[in-house]
C-alpha cells in the first residue's frame, strides 16, 4: 500500500479527473477525464475514461470504456471493455466482451466470451473457447481454438496452431443462437509449423506438418513434411515443397 496514492471510489454518479491512484473502484456511474495510473482498477458499474490507462490489474464486471491506449498487467473482463487504442498486457482473460480499436500485445490470452480487435493480436499463448475477430495478424506461439461461435482472422501465424470444433453442449447450442453464425473459422492464410484445422475456410495454409480435419474448405495447402486430409474436407490444391 502506498500512502501517497489516494483511492478513487465511485458510488453514485461522479465526474473525476485522472491522475495517480492506488485503487480505482467504480460501483456506480463514473466518468474520468485524463490519464489514469493505478494499482488496481475495478469496475462493477459503468465507467468511461477519456485518456490512457496504466495499471497493474483490472477487473471489469460492468461496462468500461477507455478512449486512449491501455497498459495493464492482468486484465479480467466479465462484462464489457472497449479500448479505443492499443492494448498491452501480460494476461488477458475475456469471459465477457472485449473490443479493441487497435493492436493488442501480451503473453497470454484466454477467450471464453467474445474478443474483437481491429489490428494485430500478438501473444505467446492464445486460447479461445468463444468467438473472436482479429482484423490483422493473429500471431502466437501456441494458438488453440475451440470453435463456439464464428471466428475470424485475416492471417494466423505461429509455431503450433490447432482449431477444433467444440462438443455439442447445451451452452454451445445457446451460444449458437446468440451469435447467430455457423461454427467455423474464416481466415485468409494460416502459417505455422504444426497445424491442425477443423471447420475452417482458408485461402492458403502453409506449414511443416499439416493435418486437415473435417469440415474444411481450403484453396491451397503447402506442406514441407507431413500432410493428412480428412475425406470430409475440400482442399483444391496441395503442393509439397
Amino acid at each position: 500500500m502506498n500512502e501517497n496514492k489516494p483511492d478513487l471510489v465511485i458510488h453514485g454518479s461522479v465526474n473525476a479527473s485522472g491522475g495517480v491512484y492506488n485503487k480505482v473502484d467504480v460501483q456506480g456511474f463514473g466518468k474520468i477525464k485524463g490519464d489514469v495510473e493505478c494499482e488496481t482498477l475495478h469496475c462493477a458499474g459503468h465507467l468511461s475514461i477519456t485518456g490512457n490507462v496504466r495499471g497493474a490489474s483490472a477487473k471489469v464486471e460492468g461496462n468500461a470504456s477507455i478512449s486512449g491506449k491501455a497498459e495493464l498487467d492482468t486484465i479480467e473482463v466479465y462484462g464489457q471493455l472497449d479500448v479505443n487504442g492499443d492494448l498491452a498486457f501480460t494476461r488477458l482473460k475475456v469471459d465477457g466482451n472485449t473490443k479493441i480499436h487497435g493492436s493488442m500485445t501480451g503473453e497470454e490470452v484466454k477467450v471464453r466470451g467474445m474478443l474483437k480487435t481491429t489490428g494485430d493480436c500478438e501473444a505467446e499463448v492464445f486460447s479461445a473457447k468463444g468467438a473472436f475477430t482479429v482484423g490483422g495478424l493473429l500471431n502466437a506461439g501456441r494458438i488453440e481454438v475451440h470453435l463456439h461461435g464464428g471466428c475470424e482472422a485475416k492471417e494466423m501465424g505461429g509455431e503450433y496452431i490447432e482449431v477444433r470444433k467444440a462438443g455439442s453442449s447445451t451452452l454451445n447450442k445457446l451460444l449458437k443462437h446468440i451469435f447467430n453464425s455457423a461454427l467455423a473459422l474464416s481466415v485468409d492464410s494460416v502459417e505455422g509449423d504444426e497445424i491442425y484445422l477443423e471447420y475452417t475456410r482458408a485461402k492458403v495454409v502453409r506449414g511443416k506438418n499439416v493435418e486437415i480435419g473435417p469440415g474444411c474448405e481450403i484453396d491451397l495447402v503447402e506442406s514441407s513434411e507431413d500432410f493428412r486430409l480428412d475425406p470430409g474436407s475440400l482442399v483444391k490444391q496441395h503442393v509439397k515443397r
Binding site: 500471431n139 505461429g158 505455422g192 509449423d193 502453409r206
Partner: protein, 206 residues
C-alpha cells in the same frame, strides 16, 4: 517483381528457418514491423521483405541465438537508444572511435563528463565518414549539428542520413527511413547511412 524484395516463401527456403521461427522473431521484435511488405500477387496477397536487410538480419539471429536470449537480441536490434554511458577514455580504449575523432567532436560540442549513447552514436557516425574519406574535417561541424539538433526528434524511429555535395558545397539531410528523395542532377550523393544499422553495429561493439 522488384529485385530488392524477397517473398516470404523464398526467404524460408533460402535460410532454412520455419514459419514458426519467423513469427516468433516478429513477436519478439527482432524483425521490424515495417519490413513486412504486403503486396497483391496473382496467387492472392503475399508478404515480401527488403532482401538485403532481412537476409543479414536472419543470418545474425541464427548466428547469435545460441549465445544470447531472444530478448537480449531484441535489445541489440532495437533502434531505441540504450542507456549506456561511456567516458572519453573508455571510448578510446574499447576502440569504438579513434582519439582524433573524439578530439574533433569535443572541439564542436564540448567535452561531456560522460558520453550518452546518443552522443556515442554521433561520434561513431562522424568517425565512419572521416575514415572512409568521404567527408573532410571542415564538414564535420555541419554533420554534428544536424545530428545533435534533429536526431532526437525521430525518437528512435528508423532514419537515414544523406550527405550530398553540389558545386563543392556540402549538405547533410536526415530523413525518415525508406523515404525516396530526389535531387537535381548537379547534386552528388556522397553517402547514405542508415542510422538504425549504425546503432546495431555500435551495440555489437560495446
Amino acid at each position: 517483381m522488384d529485385p530488392n524484395l524477397i517473398s516470404k516463401k523464398e526467404l524460408l527456403e533460402l535460410t532454412g528457418i520455419s514459419y514458426g521461427q519467423l513469427y516468433r522473431w516478429k513477436r519478439k521484435n527482432l524483425i521490424p514491423e515495417d519490413w513486412f511488405i504486403r503486396r497483391a500477387t496473382f496467387t492472392g496477397q503475399e508478404t515480401f521483405f527488403p532482401r538485403e536487410q532481412i537476409m543479414s538480419r536472419i543470418a545474425k539471429i541464427v548466428h547469435m541465438k545460441d549465445d544470447l536470449s531472444l530478448d537480449e537480441l531484441a535489445d541489440m536490434f532495437s533502434p531505441h537508444l540504450a542507456g549506456t554511458k561511456l567516458t572519453y577514455d573508455e571510448l578510446v580504449e574499447q576502440n569504438i572511435v579513434s582519439a582524433n575523432t573524439l578530439e574533433l567532436y569535443t572541439k564542436y560540442q564540448g567535452k561531456p563528463e560522460v558520453f550518452s549513447f546518443e552522443q556515442v552514436l554521433y561520434v561513431y557516425v562522424l568517425n565512419r565518414l572521416l575514415i572512409t574519406g568521404e567527408m573532410s574535417l571542415d564538414e564535420s561541424g555541419g554533420l554534428l549539428q544536424v545530428l545533435c539538433d534533429h536526431y532526437p526528434s525521430f525518437e528512435g524511429k528508423p532514419c537515414e542520413l544523406i550527405f550530398v555535395r553540389k558545386m563543392g558545397i556540402s549538405t547533410f539531410v536526415l530523413v525518415p527511413g525508406a523515404t525516396e528523395v530526389h535531387f537535381d542532377s548537379g547534386v552528388k550523393i556522397v553517402s547514405r547511412l542508415n542510422l538504425a544499422a549504425c546503432i546495431e553495429e555500435l551495440k555489437a561493439k560495446m
